[in-house]
Symmetry: D2
Subunit: 419 residues, 4 copies
């Protein structure tokens, strides 16, 4: 670990937690900036550019993005307090630590929270939600909170299907989505799915340090804001709308992170948003091959339907404590794995596979997890994880697939290799 001041383990810390993620050099560089006057005549150029590109990231034309100096948790709060009034009822599906925490926040902020509990390992139970909504004839439910990607269990929910269920129930509730560990990694369609409030943070798919809470808000939600009586000031969207309109912020913005965001969005659109999604899926498949085929272990996610392309929670065999795997990985191999949280503490360890990643960065995480498991006595075959992952990757080159979609060409790399 290179940053902390104590005894340093040589070499690069392999960062395989599901956020914060690895910062690309171009983004790291972009944050080496002198301070400047955030009320200057030139500043709006930066503001307008990043806000405009965030709309592309959210796949929205009508939604309005907001950037707060905060964590994603702050953006959760902004979403709730700007659109709801004390005592408003919200419906939350809970199936992991982060969906739990968001429900908990809603309660603490004074809303009436109806929780639909689901086994950890599954995601938003669309049918049950539809039933609840249909039963809510009076439309007392004002908001539905859905975690697009539950970071704690490695489960992705189908937000399009959730919208479909809401439509079936003809329910006017606002759709709140936590996209902290999905946006910029897994396809997210603000407009197609008519998401009303979509939350993310800087430290996951956006490949930045934590410090920016990002929220995108539909016109419908902006309208709801007018009648929302929750107290708010720091996170007030009204202040932001007014200041952003001319390219400024209501208070001093987190300048270095904004410049980093500028660079991160550039990288994403240079690669192509859909290619970013394809890459995340491809890399995730390799990790899953390592877990299931290589190690013969199980994922916390109960079936491919729920598999997350940004994080895998791996269940250690009975009798072992996943915390030990994580501890050995960190102390002995300079590898940061994600811990199991709450209900799954000790039962799973997590490999984050999101952000600026490629096959070999994941290969080292897989190799390290394997070594740590062996060290604590878990019986996996040395090399089995990397072998399974690399075989998947070798045979599923996404660039090759993309090439073949466009034309029936001879694959160029192989030709180079055979020359």
């Amino acid at each position: 670990m290179s940053n902390t001041t104590g005894t340093r383990i040589p070499g690069r810390n392999i960062l395989a937690v599901p956020g914060p993620t690895n910062i690309p050099d171009a983004v790291l560089r972009a944050m080496v900036v002198s301070m400047e006057d955030h009320r200057s005549t030139r500043f709006p150029e930066l503001t307008n550019g990043v806000l405009s590109d965030l709309k592309r990231l959210y796949k929205t034309t009508s939604g309005q993005p907001f950037i707060f100096p905060s964590s994603g948790t702050g953006a959760w709060e902004a979403a709730l307090t700007n659109t709801l009034s004390p005592g408003d009822r919200v419906l939350v599906a809970r199936f992991g630590q982060f969906s739990h925490l968001w429900a908990d926040m809603a309660q603490r902020l004074g809303f009436e929270v109806e929780i639909v509990d689901v086994d950890w390992g599954e995601g938003v139970p669309v049918e049950r939600i539809e039933e609840v909504l249909k039963a809510d004839k009076k439309h007392q439910i004002k908001g539905i909170l859905a975690c697009h990607n539950e970071t704690a269990t490695g489960v992705t929910s189908d937000i399009g299907a959730l919208r479909h269920a809401m439509d079936n129930a003809h329910h006017p509730a606002l759709l709140f989505v936590d996209g902290v560990s999905s946006i910029g990694c897994i396809d997210f369609r603000m407009d197609d799915w008519r998401v009303d409030l979509a939350v993310t943070g800087s430290q996951k798919g956006l490949m930045l340090p934590a410090g920016l809470g990002i929220l995108c808000v539909s016109p419908k939600a902006l309208k709801a804001m007018e009648h929302a009586k929750s107290k708010r000031c720091y996170f007030d969207l009204g202040d932001m709308i007014k200041a952003n309109a001319t390219g400024y912020f209501p208070y001093t913005p987190a300048l270095s992170l904004l410049y980093g965001l500028r660079a991160a969005l550039d990288l994403i659109f240079q690669e192509g948003l859909d290619k970013v999604f394809a890459r995340h899926h491809y890399l995730a498949q390799g990790v899953r091959a390592a877990v299931t085929e290589g190690w013969g272990l199980e994922l916390c996610a109960k079936g491919p339907k729920w598999y997350s392309d940004t994080v895998s929670a791996i269940v250690v065999p009975q009798g072992f404590n996943a915390a030990n795997v994580i501890d050995v990985a960190f102390r002995r191999y300079n590898l940061a794995l994600g811990a199991g949280l709450s209900k799954v503490a000790g039962k799973v360890f997590r490999i984050g596979h999101l952000g600026d990643l490629n096959e070999l960065m994941l290969a080292s995480a897989i190799a390290g997890a394997e070594m740590a498991m062996l060290d604590v006595g878990i019986d996996v075959r040395p090399g089995s994880g990397t072998g399974a992952a690399t075989q998947y990757w070798r045979t599923h080159d996404p660039r090759k697939a993309q090439t073949q979609q466009h034309a029936d060409q001879v694959e160029p790399l192989r030709r180079v290799a055979a020359a």
Copy 2:
């Protein structure tokens, strides 16, 4: 300006706004960090270190510091919502845009705000406050909000005297102090003055980019928290206390800024906190010499009693628009001056003199302001501002003063010069 992407004016932008301030190289460097697991076993070393040193910065042993990913505005909100309940009465002295905004926030968050308006250019009216407190027999006033340094007008208030007034009135209200543009620059004594909630941000005396809201809380205020019914979650101190206790944060911290904070605190204590204050005073005196002796202009601050050692608001002569001075300074000379806000818009421009500064950095700001004033037709003598400032500085070397305090030595620099 080196950061924005449009046409660049060559050379360094001279940053003379009262925050964000110039980042020392050592701090800029310290923020070039790879991300890491904020739940690792090594992370508490960082957390504990900065929290501990923040206590030294606040001159407190009993107070507890908190660091939020937010601006200073967020820390204002944290102070209010964690200790007050809806409808609680607070007393605010208002004499500038920032004291105004804090009062406004208190109103929007649902507190009953009693405002004592004071002419802009003066500070906290200690006698009037004492009267109000004495009249509040039932102790309905729960908090007093005081802006230690009003950034908009360049006015510093006497918080020790305010505490004295509260004591005279035997009033138990909590003392809230906005130290955003004072802490780390002007002597601030949390314990001596029994301040209950003291707010600052990262982008002023701490010489960092914006992005950290910092709050220090007295034991009395922490106790008040138990009964405070304001809704809060992101800014909840309880969550922070719990997580900080083991060296962690309740949500992903703004890592690069924390490493920057580590480096900034190191610089401050290497220089010596009291020497930092002395330097700010010495530099401010030079700026004031430029304004009053050199240019023959007036400060917004009405008399030396109110002079701020971190920012000077300079009143342009009748018939001139200070906004033009600022505009010419920025576009023509690559100098960022602070604008007049609200009541004093167009009437003043501001020179920030806080953070990592020295004589010559200020000399360039003074020279640039002078040129811009001349360009818009204000009649000042070329060189008069720098001449007056430099004469002050030449004859008031703080290091010399310190040396002579300790011993009656021959001044070493002069000897070198004469050798």
Copy 3:
């Protein structure tokens, strides 16, 4: 000073030596790079780009630029050893420490050096050179070494006139030019002047740290290389030509500096090379106004004909030691002034005004020099230097002039200079 590890003087060190120069943020950032394989298939993109843009910098189409990991001194050696044979005669005009050192190098490398000594404060004596060349009927002189800008005295020579003199004498010697402190700052015309070997370094007009020695070589000089018998290997142009041809280097290149060079060239061409020259002249005029009009002092350069737009050597009055001015400036005011070297040691201090500079950066250097002079007892009026400089700058805005050019088409620089 922010870098060294001892006691730090607060604030930014004002760097007013004539190199290394201030690094723009964009260049500093560009050097924050991970290492990479310098033999990769992608590397030539970087090599080819910088080599191609160096030709634009030199104003040459036929010349070939070379980049060595070395200082400018190394490029001097490369120029000599690649084109001359032991015992070859070279003619050098000597009028400062750097022209002296180059002559000295030529002697040490085994060439026969004929020195034309000139008073320090003047430059290449074109008429005397012409006489010498005319007298050299047998063309025994193989090379003429000319310092375009003598950094030690602040004197610029007229290389075009030197070429004219060589033409008048019909002399075939190679023309070697030291452009270390001129190229990228003062108009340099490799092709127009038929310069054969033009040397520069990274740390002056190129706004980089030292570490790259840069040389541009005419076809005539490349041809001379074939018969040059001086021993050389590290600096051998033949190895470079061969490797550069495919975009590589014969040994590991100084990668971070190359990326910095890429960024620096981008900045120069974004501003416009001729605008960069105009800016240097404009800024230099302000400094000279401070020296002569403001302080009533003299420049080492004997008359406007020799004035350098990149560095001014300022003569202190009789009875004072310029070293003391420099020492006080550094220790007391965090200002780095250039020292007088060799013959002018103690008699002059130097202000570098080259690279990424603007008016206010120089204003602080002038203010600091003024304070230091006063501190050592030199009688200058406080504010007189900045007053004179800023008055010049206020009334000679080069951007304003350029705007008028399109209307009037009168050549702006000459007007500025003559004003």
Copy 4:
């Protein structure tokens, strides 16, 4: 690859060439410095510190280190030209591209070079050298050039044995050692082995960008300098000795690299030089396990006696072109492997395992090499390389070994794991 400007492959480029090596964050950060006056009164602190610590790196008390702005190639030249005269005879053992190039340089610089050719894959033939020396009764051989670690073949020679051979022959020649890819990685004992001139560069064990050529010189070699008649100026040690004596350099030093060197030396001595060597051996053993046990391939190095702890050259099976492996690794997997050079071009690819490395960084290089080999048709079992390497590392923890040397303790990590 994150630096170049063309299409970017996502994620970190895995840098497994044998230099330049991975830069630790602490070193990268340390090079983010503003320029400063390299003739200031504070500068010697930096110079003296790094020169002093370089002596520790070389394990010398009597030797004198020198730092040139150059590549390691420049330091080769400095070693030769400062101690030899034209026509002097040197003896070189040649067994790879770098020993070849050094011999070639010696010829080009005008020395008489006697080459002892050895099969590529072996190192300095100590017995044969001893014979040659014994036969050289007149002591016409003035220098012996030995490549401590031949980077092209992954072969380490025994310099101690070479010194023993010289002693046996009672031969007074100077001992020149190329330690570019060994010093700071493999035990190097300047004093014990009485090495006279030891060359290294910044971009290998010192974990910096290229740009510094480093040379350490024995008192005997310094004495030889007095009579050495080779022409030299840029690389003249005399100039350096004179300037270094007061903490300065004869020309502008490569400042950012010097600050990086300061940080790199700090990292090395914090870890402990001998622990750095042990780590390199441990990591290299893992790579060799991957190659021989995992893949069933052969190293270019002919037997353990010659195995290099900093680079492994891996022989691809007959019928395959190693260049294709390298090309696929780079284009498809963002992995930079070292190419086979000259005689072994196409026959080997190289994995550098030197500098700031750990197990998992190498695991990714091994995994990538394996994938690339499979892609070009080489028959290795997926996961076999990482499996073999990780098994080695798991069972040979150097920290564990060190602990047990000191005390017969229970191994702490295992206890944690079992808790």
